[in-house]
């Protein structure tokens, strides 16, 4: 586990403190950083990615995994983001089923070295031991997020205590 990872803490949209340490040994974590609100708009691909995670949340739960989506910077436009995330391809959900976390001071963004206007869109898969099993850092306003399937594959391998073959 990288030094300092278990010390990272966020507040969710309800004001509750969420630490990565609390998941260690219990659940895998898919930590998703959105770009936040920049350039006069919310990153459309971040909204899409989050809604896909919402739509497939059950599959993540089956793999003993929590999804944490981080909204960096000011909470302006947060509600707009949440509404977008709740609209999946097939339906409208009542609530985002996993924590939406705030990183208003960009502490976590700085830890992962993904600083951009606010943050580069990024995804990290952290297994129960705290090892980072996947790291994705995207260019701003691009759609090249790891697919849900790719993330699920890494999680499945993490649960089996193994890592996938390359070929």
């Amino acid at each position: 586990m990288p030094v300092g990872l278990d010390g990272l803490a966020f507040f969710d949209t309800q004001g509750r403190r969420v630490t990565l340490e609390s998941y260690l040994g219990k659940k895998n974590v898919v930590l998703v950083f959105t770009e936040g609100f920049g350039g006069g708009m919310l990153c459309p691909f971040c909204k899409t990615q989050t809604s896909r995670l919402v739509a497939n949340y059950k599959r993540f739960q089956e793999l003993d995994t929590e999804i944490l989506v981080v909204y960096p910077g000011s909470r302006d436009h947060l509600d707009e983001f949440i509404e977008a995330a709740k609209t999946t391809d097939s339906r409208q959900v009542e609530r985002v089923p996993f924590p939406l976390l705030l990183d208003e001071d960009l502490v976590a963004v700085d830890y992962f070295k993904i600083t951009s206007n606010l943050a580069h869109p990024s995804t990290f898969i952290i297994d129960k031991k705290g090892d980072i099993r996947l790291a994705y850092v995207g260019a701003d306003m691009t759609a090249d997020r790891p697919s849900v399937k790719a993330i699920l594959n890494v999680l499945a391998d993490a649960n089996h205590g193994s890592q996938p073959g390359a070929e």
């Binding site: 586990m1 580069h120 980072i132 790291a135 193994s162 073959g165 390359a166």
Partner: protein
């Protein structure tokens, strides 16, 4: 290893005759249609395929001998497995071989069957082994072991990947003065060392000068090859008595175009004979053809014997005064009037090199060395493929066997080589622990630690994945570091290395690109001579995963890149600007492993401040 271009009927078969043909095809000594012809003849006449090949004149006896050795690759020398034929000559072979115990590839030099009864040739090989064994110099090929095996005298020696100076010259009409003297300087350094141990080479010529990449840690100016002097088979030491000497009767006295006149009269020559031959070699590099190329060898001997040195008049007249003067001094027919020792010679060469730099308006500042030279551009068209199974492309040593007695008068000389050797200081620090994405280095894209098909833990970078690696060791102020990694290409993927800066005003520098089969220098790198047009790899197979080894060293204002242990290229950098490397998967997925960084320090700090350092 190259593929067999011809498939035997009814494969698989391991019959001895079939194996013989397979090896002949692998070594490209036979073509497919010839193999069929030989097999048909063998069957029809009920003779072995080797006899059939000889009867049909499709193989020479020495080629048959080499193939038969390769058919039983572990039988020649215990502990060594012959892998392929590197070259052959009038009297012997050089094989590439694997030394099992040390897991290293070596060159094995031995003689052909017909020469086994020749005590002269066997003795000459023994002499060569003994001569080189006494020499330890970066520009002289190293002998590991020698002895008689199965009736043949064999020498196991350092394997040198490269080409001969002859081959280099053949690719060009001529070499420039600058490259010529840089090569001559290295040869002089090697011969000076030999001279200190009372050894005269006596057969210096382009065919006995191998050009290769500098060993890891040794910096060479971009475009200048690293020299290895080979074939000390004519060498003889002054501490051996006449009774130990081999008679010259019936043997060649060196090589007529390059041999010193006094060596034709009396084999008891001193280092001045080698200096003459080096001067003749300089002529060949600058003129593009050997001395007296318009005359037969016998005519050359005759002219030299009577003191006719008009061949020197054919020296190109467009050369600098310094070059012409030094060439004349080196090739005086009278050894008493010739440059007499290596210390003087190396000083004179250095002087000419300095004059050439000034004439070309090249800054004497180390940071500018080599960057504005026209010479490397001319040199840059050299291409060397790493296809060692093709005889002649990769030479371990020249294999011309001749026996000449020599008597030497040693003269101390110093090797004032200006190269700085950088060594590691402390242990490497791993940049990837096999389990975690090193998030401190990720820049973009998707990186996943996985287990490759050979079981190794690798960091897989998908297309677009970038890492930024600061070239600074943890807690150190020095940027002199070496970053090392293995790169594996599981499919059609591509990997690029560049430098980046934290400053937005500093441009990136693109250094090299790797694919599963090739490393290619990019625009900002000054490639080594053998890497100008890229270096080919043996592609990795799923059942035999190969990691291409990449070493990127920052050595006081210069980045030096080695690929698979060979110098690939260099680039001058500003220590304050190009502070970080970028590794990028530019297509498909690449696997990185054995990824570490270590501090470098100059081995001899006092040398590193020398104005000669480059």
């Amino acid at each position: 290893m190259s593929q067999v271009a011809y498939e035997l009927p009814g494969q698989p078969s391991e019959q001895p005759d079939d194996r013989f043909v397979q090896v002949a095809l692998q070594q490209r000594l036979l073509k497919g249609q010839h193999a069929e012809h030989i097999l048909e003849y063998s069957k029809k006449e009920s003779v072995s395929v080797s006899d059939a090949a000889l009867a049909l004149s499709l193989l020479e006896p020495h080629e048959v001998d080499a193939i038969e050795l390769l058919v039983h690759p572990k039988q020649l020398i215990p502990g060594f497995e012959l892998l392929g034929l590197l070259g052959s000559g009038a009297g012997g072979f050089v094989f590439r071989a694997r030394q099992d115990a040390l897991q290293r590839d070596v060159a094995i030099k031995t003689i052909i069957t017909s020469a086994r009864s020749s005590t002269l040739r066997q003795a000459r090989m023994q002499r060569e082994a003994h001569a080189i064994a006494r020499l330890q110099h970066p520009h002289i090929v190293t002998v590991y072991d020698s002895g008689y095996f199965r009736g043949r005298y064999c020498i196991a020696m350092e394997l040198v990947d490269g080409e001969t100076l002859t081959q280099l010259i053949q690719r060009h009409s001529q070499l420039s003065e600058y490259v010529t003297w840089q090569i001559a300087r290295q040869v002089a350094s090697a011969l000076a060392h030999a001279s200190q141990t009372d050894i005269v080479h006596r057969d210096i010529k382009p065919g006995n000068i191998l050009l290769t990449n500098a060993p890891s840690g040794i910096q060479m100016e971009a475009g200048i090859p690293f020299v290895k002097v080979v074939d000390f088979g004519l060498a003889f030491s002054s501490d051996q008595t006449d009774s130990d000497q081999i008679t010259a009767t019936g043997t060649t006295l060196g090589t007529p175009a390059y041999v010193a006149p006094e060596q034709l009269q009396d084999p008891h020559v001193d280092e001045r004979a080698d200096i003459y031959s080096l001067g003749a070699t300089v002529f060949h590099m600058l003129a593009g053809h050997p001395p007296m190329s318009d005359r037969s060898p016998m005519q050359a001997i005759l002219h030299k014997s009577i003191g006719d040195d008009r061949w020197r008049d054919q020296f190109p007249d467009s050369l600098s005064a310094g070059t012409v003067a030094l060439f004349q001094e080196m090739t005086e027919a009278d050894p008493e009037r010739r440059t007499g020792n290596y210390l003087d010679l190396m000083n004179r060469i250095d002087e000419v090199i300095r004059e050439l730099k000034v004439a070309d308006d090249i800054s004497s500042q180390p940071t500018d060395h080599g960057l504005k030279l026209s010479v490397p551009e001319r040199f840059n068209v050299v291409k060397t493929k790493r296809s060692w199974t093709r005889p002649g492309l990769l030479l371990a040593t020249a294999v011309i066997f001749a026996l000449i007695p020599v008597f030497l008068k040693g003269s101390p000389a110093s090797d004032s080589s200006a190269n700085v050797t950088w060594i590691t200081d402390g242990l490497p620090y791993s940049l990837f622990d096999g389990f975690n994405v090193p998030i401190e280095f990720q820049e973009s894209g998707t990186w996943i630690p996985i287990v490759a098909s050979d079981g190794s833990r690798v960091l897989a970078g998908q297309s677009g994945g970038r890492l930024r690696i600061p070239m600074r060791f943890r807690g150190s102020d020095s940027s002199n570091t070496r970053i090392r990694l293995g790169v594996h290409f599981p499919a059609e993927s591509q990997f690029m290395v560049s430098t980046v800066s934290d400053s937005p005003n500093v441009n990136e520098m693109n250094l090299l690109q790797l694919t599963a089969t090739r490393a290619t220098p990019l625009s900002d790198l000054r490639p080594s001579p053998s890497a100008v047009e890229g270096v080919d790899f043996e592609p990795s197979q799923p059942e035999d995963v190969v990691f291409q080894r990449l070493e990127i060293s920052r050595q006081r204002g210069q980045i030096v890149i080695n690929v698979n242990g060979d110098l690939f290229g260099t680039v001058r950098v500003n220590d304050a600007e190009h502070t970080t490397l970028r590794f990028e998967s530019t297509r498909g997925t690449v696997h990185l492993a054995d990824f570490d960084i270590v501090q470098l320090i100059p081995e001899s700090p006092e040398l590193s401040t020398s104005p000669d350092v480059r």
